[in-house]
Amino acid sequence: MRMGQRREEDTGVELQMTPMIDIVFQLLVFFVMTFKIAAPEGDFNIRMPLVAPSEGIPEPDALPPITIRLSALSDGRLASIQFGQRQLKNFLELRERMIEMLGPDPGPSVIESTEVELDCDYHLRYEYVIEAITAVSGYVDPKSGQVIKLVEKIKFAPPRAG
């Protein structure tokens, strides 16, 4: 009887690795080819009054909105920024004026009660509107890196012909 010798021969079980490696590499190639580096995107909420305004007595505590006028040149570039009666140099100054008016860290009640209305020329390039919204919405605290909110309620005035 030579059973012992036979057992020694059968111990090596070979797995077929080739099909698995094939499919794994195909999966890898698929994911590499479909991979796209997408820049992170974020949103700004916009309050727009309904087409038919609701009738009734307005709230007595409601403050009038802060109006920011953005006028445009004929090619859509920004011509001027007007904050109340003041002409501003750039959006950085707009943010400074907002901080001056509301305080460096306004509480929830101030944020809730303050509304900004953007009064823009029709032809103004949209990127300037987002810059204005960024300037009035808040700022990133350089020490903590946290976003300090200034205003959450932003709306548009009807567009001007420009």
Binding site: G42, L73, G76, Y126
Partner: protein, 155 residues
């Protein structure tokens, strides 16, 4: 003379384990970060930049993404139409939402406007959406630091 038979020659075996480990880790990495939801992106739209545009904490309810091109057309799904032409598509979407049991007024219109689009066109688009019955709007921007002093008035 005795030649070694082929059976006697030891066959070199490569250790596949590290390679398979690494490959599976790569696949796991790509599977985790892959994003198949291309419906809310469009390569034609160059979004305006904002340092405060943080990704939302929670996904918007029934989001409808409208891409406003620099030419003033609106891309919605596979369709590209004029701003007044979007009304028909939005009404269809509204019917679909109602059939699904959702309130169209709770749906969020995400406007991905090109940075060179006109502000008046964005407002026109919002007005058409309001006329159809949508009330919630968000303006989308690319999250990137940009100095506010750079975009100064030219006039």
């Amino acid at each position: 003379m005795r030649f070694a038979s082929r059976r006697d020659v030891a066959r070199g075996k490569a250790d596949m384990t590290p390679m398979i480990d690494m490959t599976f880790q790569l696949i796991a990495f790509f599977m985790v970060i892959v994003n198949f939801s291309e419906g809310d992106r469009n390569e034609r739209i160059r979004l305006p930049i904002s340092e405060l545009a943080k990704p939302p904490d929670a996904p918007a309810k029934s989001p409808i993404t409208l891409h406003l091109t620099d030419a003033g057309t609106v891309i919605f799904g596979p369709d590209e139409v004029s701003i007044p032409g979007i009304r028909q598509l939005l009404e269809r979407e509204q019917r679909f939402l109602r059939a699904r049991g959702d309130d169209p007024r709770a749906a969020t219109i995400i406007i991905r406007g090109d940075r060179a689009a006109r502000t008046g066109q964005v407002q026109e688009l919002i007005r058409v959406c309001q006329q159809v019955g949508f009330e919630r709007f968000v303006l989308r921007a690319r999250q990137e630091f940009a100095s506010l002093a750079e975009l100064a008035p030219s006039g």
